[in-house]
């Protein structure tokens, strides 16, 4: 596979390490209840189709990126920096 790195352009997927569902960005804040952490950590939509997912450019610039990819066809629709996604979702410090 080829991943369109938002800064570096098309890169071989082998340069990246896969984590999974980009919902992992939405960590419950602070000392949230265990149920919220359980759902955050363990439950997944796991769609057959469009999936937003985290990849780490381990053999590259060390960016975490969010790739939008179709899990049925493997077609990639885009990629953005995870940092930007996190900020857009209200994460800060």
């Amino acid at each position: 596979m080829l991943i369109p790195h938002p800064i570096l352009g098309l890169r071989d997927a082998q340069e990246f390490t896969y984590l999974g569902d980009a919902a992992l960005i939405d960590r419950p804040d602070g000392l949230a209840n265990p149920e919220a952490f359980h759902d955050y950590l363990y439950l997944r939509d796991n769609p057959a189709g469009i999936h937003r997912e985290l990849w780490f450019h381990e053999q590259g610039d060390r960016s975490w990126i969010v790739v939008t990819r179709n899990t049925v066809t493997h077609e990639i629709l885009g990629a953005v920096l995870a940092q930007d996604v996190a900020r857009a979702r209200g994460r800060s410090r």
Partner: protein, 1025 residues
């Protein structure tokens, strides 16, 4: 439609003996020996060699098949050379061991499989049709014993009524014990085709990466036209073909292109392309798979046409091709017709017979009959006739249409049987009026039309679609993105069509690439329509083969239908149709058609034929490349590696790192002697150990303390500058992933250390936290593992030694326990010093830029001579840490909590840190859960084994009584006996209890006492001196 055609010819066939009117009854081939007598005859003198062809007749190559030597020419394949020598019997089938000859002239060959070469280079299952002849080539037939002509396992053929599809699912069940002891060993012994040498492959393989605007797959008229069109427009083009001569079917036909022989036209295009700097032509290169996003796998056979690879050259290269666009121009594969005994040696595909005649100047038989249902097959009759080969008759299933002039052309007839066990002697046919007659022939050329080579288009699950006009599957419009199809592969069967679609697809590509499209200059070429009346099999008694290699017959397909294995996938799996080394290239379609007949559905309703990568089988060696043997994975060496090697160190693999395990000295005969000495020497004097492999991460920024508080279970923001603290890091699920020390060198500057194994994952995790969870924290992370050489200097004399190295005052007062600082060493070299201890002794870790690591260790060894300095390896390190109850990889197995480790109190519940919340779940927080304990054998001489389980005295060794296990076991020279760390249920409250450490694998058990894991200096007094 199909039922109608075959139904018309339903009837019985019969076996028969010598063919009446056989003109050459004394030919050795007719005496039952498929191989001609005579050694080393010149192929040029054989009656099978015709004039013409793309072979170099000026040179002669000697080769051997089954120990007999023959001659051929450069340009021959093994198959063409064998045919030229009159050898028709080349193999045996898998199941019934039926004698077989060559069926095809290409990579789709199911029959003519040989063991090529000998010794460690032996290559089983090599298709004689694609093996390029070289001088000294050795090949042997396979799957037969004792010889190809007389094969004992041929008995299976007589037993065939019992050995139908899936018979083995219905029997061999009683008595149960006989399966492994009797039935299966017999079956396994008969399994397989060729054999491996069992020796290491002596050749090497390479891997490479190629990038192209356009990859053209196949070099027939469509591929050459596509490459020329795109090449002239300046696109970066790579053209790959599995063959060793470019031109595809143009080399196999006598058709003219642009007023010259097709093969000559091909050579002129090749010449033009060769001169273009932006075009790369690659022969002997098979594109075997289409992967995501325009990545193609290809194997170039660099040296398979040579006796052995040239020195320093690989045998094959695996190419990963990154192509913006690709054009598949792989042509088509001809298909056979099933009829009784249609597997006789000498029965071949018509296109192949033509290829042998036109390209290699070989008559596949002296008297050739044809059995066709389409016009293309008639070309074979014309070409053979023109070449002077005796064409016995054309048996044409179609009643309509013109007859070939000057050739016996029997219309509306079908072949019903073939005779000649080791080589065809004649066929029986039935004409439209139901009359049967026989024709003597030693070759039957069969054509039922052509299947577009759609395999690569279905690699990404697109199903081919049915095209009624050519009665074949053509590529799905939803094939792999960026892959276009031209020529016969797209179902466009004429030469003109191939040229035109090749140019058109190339122009499509140019448009997408934003390059100027080219006005196609199409040379004049034939544009004959496909005239074909579908015929798949001729029904009748006896066995008609569908899959030649796996011996799947029409009857087997019928049985599968009868037993409800009707979906195509069930059919394949039940009968093994299409599962042979040819992946069913010549059989899948036929099997599908027969099943369609049986179900009364149309072929596309019945299913499609799908193909999985690779297109043709790929050598494992090529896929592995250089990553084998010692080079399987890279070795990471520590800065002191060369020095340690000079000391005679024994090294051990630690992930990719090589670490010194111990340093034997003269007189030491066992590793234990060395390790005991290193341990005692360290505890008495001073020891040095390279700990560079531990992960080091610099964390800087105004929020560094906040960040560390969130990624560690314990608190770091309160750590004073100049101090070090031990930390444990949890995963979000509350399990400990890593432990280590983090030093605070400045207000906003920390240095984290990780375990060797977790250096990479921890860094990745920290970056995840920084970028995805708290993107606005002011911190920067950088891994400096490779940047610093770091040594542990441990033992009572550690300070005395280091004071001679470090330029600053490191007295206990100036540099107390858990202090850290930037220092200089050896008179000004920058370094870092940490007063931390894994060994439990007065100890430091000193770091210098990696390039000074070698010098530093030498300097420390020199300076410490009078202090009893000695290096120690990972074994001694392990002993030292177990004596102190420190955890390492065996304890940090990804399944344990801080509570299990006895470090539960380190998990601060006052702050939000990764893993804190989930670490408190009920099953993880059980008071009676596993706890880390120390283990001492009651008998000091007893030997413990890590992995032993703990069972209470008097209890049976069963799971219900399993109380835990020993994680790490060492011999403590300090205590004079073995000690261990263990996880024990409810361990915190069981100190002093006696249990049994049971190792059921070795059938041993040792009485042990549960003790504190701190075996040496439990109060930590030595640390603080």
């Amino acid at each position: 439609m199909n039922a109608r055609v075959s139904g018309t010819f339903a009837g019985q066939g019969e076996l028969f003996g010598f063919v009446k009117g056989d003109t050459r009854p004394h030919d050795p081939r007719y005496s039952g020996d498929g191989v001609r007598a005579g050694q080393g005859r010149d192929a040029t003198s054989t009656p099978e060699r015709l004039p013409g062809g793309l072979i170099d007749r000026s040179r002669s190559l000697e080769f051997a098949f089954d120990g007999r030597s023959y001659r051929g020419h450069p340009g021959d394949t093994l198959a063409s050379a064998l045919l030229a020598n009159g050898v028709r019997l080349m193999g045996r089938s898998f199941k019934y061991h039926r004698p077989r000859g060559v069926l095809t002239a290409g990579s789709e060959e199911p029959n003519a499989l040989v063991e090529l070469r000998s010794g460690a280079r032996q290559e089983p299952n090599s298709r004689a049709t694609v093996v390029e002849l070289f001088h000294g080539l050795e090949a042997c037939s396979q799957n037969r014993w004792p010889s190809l002509a007389f094969d004992v396992m041929g008995i299976n053929d007589l037993l065939s009524p019992f050995l139908t599809a899936g018979f083995y699912y219905k029997t061999f069940m009683w008595p149960a014990a006989f399966w492994e002891t009797l039935y299966e060993p017999v079956i396994r012994r008969a399994a397989g085709l060729g054999s491996l040498s069992r020796a290491e492959d002596p050749d090497c393989y390479d891997k490479g990466f190629l990038h192209a605007d356009l990859l053209v797959i196949g070099s027939g008229p469509a591929g050459l036209m596509a490459a020329r069109t795109a090449g002239r427009a300046g696109a970066r083009v790579i053209l790959m073909d599995e063959d060793f001569v470019l031109g595809g079917r143009l080399n196999a036909e006598t058709l003219s292109v642009g007023g010259q022989m097709g093969s000559a036209w091909a050579q002129s295009v090749v010449a033009e392309l060769s001169a273009l700097p932006n075009v790369r032509l690659m022969t002997r290169t098979t594109v075997f798979g289409v992967f995501d996003h325009g990545i193609y796998g290809a194997v170039e056979r660099v040296a398979d046409h040579l006796p052995a690879p040239e020195a320093g050259k690989p045998r094959q290269i695996l190419w990963r091709v990154y192509a913006r666009q690709a054009i598949l121009a792989a042509g088509a594969v001809e298909r056979p017709i099933a009829f009784r005994n249609n597997d006789r040696p000498g029965i071949m595909l018509a296109g192949a017979v033509r290829t042998y005649a036109n390209r290699w100047g070989v008559a596949a038989g002296r008297r050739v009959a044809l059995f066709v249902n389409n016009d293309d097959g008639l070309r074979t009759a014309r070409d053979l006739d023109a070449a002077g080969v005796d064409v016995a008759a054309v048996i044409d299933a179609r009643a309509e249409g013109d007859r070939l002039p000057g050739i016996r052309h029997i219309k509306g007839a079908v072949v019903t049987d073939a005779a000649g066990r080791l080589g065809l002697r004649g066929v029986t046919f039935r004409d439209g009026r139901g009359r049967e007659d026989r024709i003597a022939c030693d070759c039957l050329a069969v054509s039922s039309g052509w299947n577009p080579a759609v395999a690569l288009t279905s690699h990404q699950s697109a199903r081919p679609v049915w095209d009624e006009s050519i009665a074949a599957f053509v590529p799905s419009p939803n094939g792999p993105k960026g892959l276009k199809v031209a020529g016969a592969a797209a179902g466009v069967m004429s030469t003109h069509g191939a040229l035109a679609t090749g140019a058109a697809r190339a122009n499509d590509v140019l448009e997408e690439l934003g390059l100027p499209t080219q006005k196609p200059e199409l040379p004049e070429a034939e544009d004959a329509p496909v005239r074909l009346s579908p015929l798949w099999h001729v029904s009748g008694a006896g066995r008609a083969w569908v899959d030649l290699q796996n011996d799947v017959t029409v009857k087997d397909v019928r049985l599968a239908h009868q037993e409800n294995f009707r979906s195509v996938e069930h059919l394949k799996r039940y009968t093994t149709l299409g599962m042979a080394t040819d992946q069913g290239k010549t059989s899948n379609m036929l099997g599908l058609a027969v099943m369609a007949e049986l179900t009364g559905k149309s072929i596309p309703e019945t299913g499609t034929t799908m193909f999985r990568p690779p297109y043709t089988p790929v050598a494992m060696g090529a896929l592995a490349g250089r990553s084998r043997g010692e080079d399987f994975k890279p070795r990471r060496l520590t800065p002191s590696h060369r020095w340690a090697a000079e000391q005679g160190a024994i090294f051990v693999e630690a992930g990719l790192w090589m670490r010194a395990q111990w340093f034997p000295r003269p007189g030491e005969t066992t590793w234990r002697q060395s390790v005991d000495r290193e341990v005692l020497g360290t505890r008495k004097g001073v020891g040095i150990c390279d700990v560079t492999t531990l992960g080091k991460i610099d964390i800087q920024g105004t929020d560094a303390g906040v960040f560390l508080d969130r990624v560690y279970a314990n608190t770091f923001s309160t750590l004073p500058v100049g101090k070090v603290r031990y930390g444990i890091m949890l995963r979000e699920d509350g399990i400990v992933i890593d432990d280590g020390t983090t030093a605070r060198l400045g207000e906003h500057e920390y240095i984290m250390t990780t375990t060797t194994a977790n250096a990479v994952p921890v860094f990745r995790h920290l970056e995840f936290c920084r970028q995805c969870l708290w993107p606005d924290l002011d911190i920067q992370l950088i891994s400096t593992t490779e940047a610093w050489a770091q040594f542990s200097v441990a033992g009572p004399n550690a300070r005395r030694l280091l004071q001679r190295i470090v330029d600053q005052d490191i007295s206990d007062a100036a540099f107390p326990y858990m202090a850290c600082a930037n220092v200089t060493v050896c008179g000004g070299l920058r370094g870092r010093l940490f007063r931390i201890s894994f060994s439990g002794e007065l100890a430091y870790e000193v770091a210098v830029p990696a390039r000074y690591g070698d010098a530093l260790v030498r300097e420390m060894m020199a300076q410490g001579q009078d202090l009893g300095v000695m290096p120690y390896g990972t074994e001694a390190l392990g002993v030292l840490r177990v004596e102190k109850g420190h955890i390492a990889g065996n304890e940090l197995n990804g399944q344990t909590t801080a509570l299990n480790l006895g470090l539960g109190k380190m998990v601060s519940k006052k702050k939000d840190a990764i893993g804190m919340v989930l670490s408190q779940r009920e099953e993880l927080a059980r008071a009676d859960g596993l706890r880390l304990v120390g283990i001492r054998p009651v008998d000091p001489k007893a030997v413990l084994e890590a992995g032993s389980h703990l069972i209470a005295a008097g209890r049976d060794p069963v799971a219900a009584n399993d109380d835990g296990w020993l994680t790490s076991v060492v011999h403590s020279p300090h205590l004079g006996h073995q000690i261990a760390l263990a996880y024990l249920r409810n361990g915190a409250s069981r100190l002093g209890e006696r249990l049994r450490a049971v190792n059921l694998l070795a059938k041993t058990e040792v009485e042990v006492e549960i003790v504190s894991p701190h075996f040496v200096d439990p109060e930590g007094e030595r640390l603080r001196v």
